[in-house]
């Protein structure tokens, strides 16, 4: 019974505080913002890079790699054309020799 009598005023105080806070809290929106001085207005924060950064993909090697691949592929293809042409020449010479020897024989 004593406990009930003592806790009733405490509950009332808590309710009153909650009411006051709920009224006062929105009023902080009307509070004036503190003025910045010139130095603070120019301030910038330098932060250490943690994890991958934007410059971790260098463009130079990618560019050199791309043009290198183009050059290698085109040179290799021209070499293939030269090889096919030479193969045709060899076949033609073989055929000519065979026919010449047949004619003589």
């Amino acid at each position: 019974m004593k406990v009930v009598k003592r806790s009733a005023p405490m509950l009332w105080i808590v309710l009153q505080l909650a009411l006051v806070l709920s009224v006062l809290t929105p009023l902080t929106a009307f509070a004036e913002e503190p003025k910045e001085d010139a130095a603070e207005s120019r301030s910038a924060a330098f932060q250490a890079v943690e994890g991958p950064s934007a410059e971790q993909v260098p463009g130079g090697p990618l560019l050199i790699g791309a043009y290198g691949v183009i050059l290698v592929l085109l040179v290799a293809y021209v070499a293939r054309l030269g090889s096919l042409h030479a193969k045709n020449q060899v076949e033609l010479e073989r055929l000519t020799r065979a026919l010449e020897s047949t004619r003589k024989g």
Binding site: L63, Y77, L81, R94, L99
Partner: protein, 253 residues
């Protein structure tokens, strides 16, 4: 084996063109024009055109990447025309053009498929993404690689040659899908040239146009050379078969 047959085969051999495009004035002029255009593209792209703000120097891949895609279209397009004409006329010359177009188109497709991901690594943060344009380009490359494998490994008979020609035409059906995939489906692949003028600096646009001219000339030069060589191979093979049928090559290695 008669003397007349031997003489006929020998005179036919003297007329065989085994892919000697060097003797043609037109080929030489095209080769010179290609060299000049390539040099101009490199100069304009690396010296005159400014560095792009967001991507930096890696954007300069664009001056050969996009023109290579157009050269790929040209090669595969000639393969489609050559294949269709071969099916209509059974002409070896048209088949040679189809083979040349497919092979050169495949080389430029490979260039596109290598240089694109190198650009994408910087622009997108990844080498590959299953974007519609990338995927359809990979698909068309695989179709023409299959065509070339069929032609080079086993297409000696008429049926195989006709089947290869059909495959060449089928692959061409993908080209409009690749080209319009950026408009048809949402993807990551950028479109720089649009109907409203695009977003290129004037010097970048000149570099791109020079690149397109250079790669077009280069692809035509390579297709020309490859088709002539293929035509020479066909003639040598045909003469060899004729000579063998007449018994002129008996006892020869």
């Amino acid at each position: 084996m008669t003397q007349a047959a031997t003489t006929t085969s020998s005179s036919s051999l003297s007329n065989v063109a085994v892919g000697a495009p060097k003797s043609s004035l037109g080929f030489t002029l095209l080769a010179v024009l290609t060299a000049v255009l390539l040099a101009l593209t490199v100069y304009w792209g690396f010296v005159v055109a400014p560095v792009e703000l967001q991507m930096g120097v890696v954007q300069k891949i664009f001056y050969f990447h996009a023109p290579s895609a157009y050269a790929m279209y040209l090669g595969f397009g000639l393969c489609v025309i050559g294949s269709a004409m071969y099916l209509a006329k059974r002409s070896d010359a048209w088949e040679a053009i189809a083979v040349g177009g497919a092979e050169v188109g495949a080389i430029f497709c490979l260039i596109v498929m290598v240089t694109g991901p190198l650009w994408g690594r910087k622009a997108w943060g990844t080498y590959w993404t299953w974007d519609p344009r990338l995927t359809t380009t990979l698909l068309i490359g695989m179709i023409y690689v299959a065509y070339l494998l069929l032609r080079n490994l086993g297409a000696t008979g008429e049926a195989e040659r006709r089947f290869a020609a059909g495959l060449g035409i089928l692959g061409g059906a993908l080209m409009p899908i690749i080209h319009y995939s950026v408009q048809l489906w949402r993807g990551q692949h950028p479109t720089v040239i649009t109907k409203k003028g695009g977003g290129l600096h004037p010097d970048m646009l000149i570099a791109l146009l020079l690149g397109c001219a250079a790669m077009t000339a280069l692809s035509l030069l390579l297709i020309w050379a490859r088709a002539r060589i293929e035509q020479g191979r066909q003639r040598v093979l045909s003469l060899e078969l004729d000579a063998a049928e007449q018994g002129l090559l008996e006892g020869q290695a």
